[in-house]
């Protein structure tokens, strides 16, 4: 898969390189969302808040560091990228402190409320955030203006981030998170500090979302309050469910499908929502578990007895959640 990604810039035209960069950035964002959903069993409707905060932190430092002519040095550029994740992490620590006290629909509602509140604050605080004008003119240094170079730069960061994420999900901490997803009460009986684990994971997820946001500003040359809104959070949810929350790389697969489909459909019609809405409808009704869920069932059918060794770390996300 990495090889396929590395080959993207060889495709004719810059268009697919741009789409590829978008796939990577949103894929990372969706992956960070899946830390909460696939591994911890909680659905967040405000995850874009951290994506947006990361983007704004980078954009603001970027604007402060660039010269009056609008240029920015490579060191300053990298420094401004580094601003995104820690600021997003700090926000996630504060918001997560309250959110991890709740689960299920209440967790979803509280994350939505925090996200929307931040959206309206960024939207209306003109003197600090430039309001709905957003921050423009985030032109990276000459080397990164080349779309191929920026693509490889993004690819390297995303691969590194995914590697770290993978280590986290396979660590004892990651296993504990899955226990929390499957049976929180039992985990508490076993002496797990449930809230501390959930909070730590919330901060980790927020940090990676902030990293994705930090990359977004220089890529699109601007940031706007919409990045924090719940429509943006919805994109992470869509990608994750299209690809499949049950597999580690599910969200990336979802991002490939979603972003490419969007790029192609938008060339022909303004009815993109109708298209993606129908796709989601079909997936929910006929392919629960997403695309990788289908692949996995096919594989299982092919070798009926070999169920234990499959790369299926998060099978049945939330299935055991009891409903009254």
């Amino acid at each position: 898969m990495i090889v396929l990604f590395a080959l993207v810039p060889w495709l004719p035209g810059e268009f697919w390189t741009h789409v590829g960069t978008e796939i990577l950035i949103f894929g990372l964002f969706a992956m960070s969302f899946n830390l909460l959903y696939g591994y911890m069993g909680q659905i967040s409707f405000g995850h874009a808040a951290f994506f947006g905060i990361g983007a704004y932190a980078t954009a603001m430092l970027f604007t402060a560091l660039k010269t009056s002519a609008g240029d920015i040095g490579v060191a300053e550029f990298l420094l401004s990228l580094l601003a995104g994740p820690p600021v997003a992490a700090a926000a996630a620590l504060f918001i997560g402190f309250f959110c991890v006290r709740l689960t299920g629909i209440y967790f979803a509602m509280l994350t939505l409320a925090f996200g929307e509140m931040l959206f309206y604050i960024v939207f209306s605080w003109y003197s600090f955030t430039k309001g709905d004008d957003g921050i423009q003119g985030l032109l990276p240094p000459a080397f990164f203006q080349d779309s191929d170079n920026f693509y490889y730069f993004t690819l390297a960061i995303v691969i590194l981030a995914l590697f770290v994420m993978w280590r986290i999900t396979e660590s004892p901490f990651g296993l504990t998170l899955r226990t929390l997803r499957d049976n929180q009460r039992r985990a508490a009986f076993l002496g797990t500090n449930v809230k501390a684990h959930m909070l730590a994971n919330f901060v980790i997820a927020g940090t990676f979302a902030g990293l994705a946001g930090a990359l977004w500003g220089p890529f699109s040359r601007s940031v706007n309050p919409g990045l924090l809104g719940w429509g943006e959070s919805g994109i992470a949810v869509f990608m994750t469910l299209i690809g499949g929350a049950g597999a580690f790389i599910g969200p990336i697969v979802g991002s490939v499908i979603y972003t490419m489909l969007q790029a192609v459909v938008k060339m022909y019609t303004i009815y993109w929502p109708l298209t993606i809405g129908s796709v989601i409808l079909v997936i929910v009704l006929f392919a629960p578990g997403g695309i990788l869920g289908i692949v996995e069932r096919r594989l299982r059918a092919a070798r009926p007895e070999g169920g234990t060794n499959g790369g299926d770390p998060v099978a049945g996300a939330g299935e055991t959640e009891s409903r009254q």
């Binding site: 509602m109 939505l112 929307e116 509140m117 309206y120 469910l241 303004i270 929910v284 939330g318």
Partner: protein, 295 residues
């Protein structure tokens, strides 16, 4: 102190509150009975606004223009949308009862996207509004749009009617019982699937009524449903899932706080609502009038 501007904000806040109440009441009922959080509720509200508009225009052309044509237009839209709601539950929503919460949310959100584009396909990008030609009325040394009182009256009347329905009629009692225990109601020989479709139709009908009375006050525009649905979520959670009284009180809180915040912080008024929502979720996650039982 001049109280006139505050009274103006109070009336517009209350009329806003009543629209939110009509919507949230349906949302809360549907969630209470079927455990489905219907993202598409406000989109159905938006569609029925366009339907009401078209019916109103059609009736005005056929029988001469008159503000009273709004009444049959609303009645027609409520009937049509209730039927549509019945069908939607019967053929689509029903397949997700056994699924997890995120998948249900995703299904109703897919409907938001699809129906939003259906509006674009059928009615285009223009805003739709009905002008009843109501003259502003002089009250408290200022001008008030008397139509706001029609909305407030409708909201209160429907609230009272809903209370009567839920507490005094047989069907209403079954619905309330279903909120507590679906399996018990089913065990008593009541056909739960029929109840589900009826409740969904009722909820959508209330939304259609809300958009009908709302049309002469504000134009319907694309994308409005997304703003409204998150506010309805706020109302339902602040009031407490399944509590009709809570929904009513929370609607008034949200509507009035919004219209007063607009005076001080025009772009950020909605942030105030989410601040209240955050406070309620932290302090009493089950809402002001809800019971801890279902949390």
């Amino acid at each position: 102190m001049d109280i006139a501007p505050y009274l103006l904000q109070l009336f517009s806040g209350l009329s806003r509150a009543m629209v939110l109440f009509l919507l949230s009441a349906g949302l809360s009922l549907i969630f209470g009975v079927m455990n489905i959080l219907n993202f598409a509720h406000a989109t159905l509200w938006l569609i029925s606004g366009y339907v009401t508009y078209s019916l109103f225009t059609f009736l005005s052309e056929q029988f001469g223009a008159s503000p009273w044509m709004l009444l049959p237009a609303i009645a027609g839209a409520v009937a049509l949308m209730s039927l549509a709601g019945f069908a939607l539950e019967r053929f689509l929503i029903r397949h997700t009862y056994e699924r997890e919460l995120p998948e249900q949310l995703l299904l109703t959100f897919a409907l938001v996207l699809i129906l939003g584009d259906v509006i674009k396909l059928v009615w285009g990008l223009e805003n739709r509004r009905i002008n009843l030609g109501v003259e502003p009325m002089e009250m408290f040394d200022t001008l008030v749009n008397p139509y706001q009182f029609v909305i407030i009256g409708t909201g209160v009347a429907v609230g009272a009617g809903l209370w009567y329905f839920l507490h005094r009629t047989r069907f209403g009692k079954i619905v309330r019982a279903a909120v507590y225990s679906r399996s018990m109601v089913s065990a008593l020989g009541i056909r739960i699937p029929v109840i589900y479709s009826m409740v969904f139709a009722l909820g959508v009908g209330l939304a259609a009524l809300a958009s009908g009375v709302f049309l002469p006050l504000l134009p319907m525009s694309l994308g409005m449903d997304l703003d409204i649905i998150v506010q309805c979520f706020a109302v339902v959670v602040i009031g407490g899932f399944g509590s009709m009284l809570g929904t009513f009180v929370a609607s008034i809180i949200v509507g009035v706080v919004y219209s007063f915040s607009i005076l001080f912080w025009p772009d950020g008024a909605l942030a105030m609502i989410f601040l209240i929502l955050i406070a309620v979720l932290i302090w009493r996650p089950w809402g002001l009038f809800g019971t801890e039982l279902r949390s």
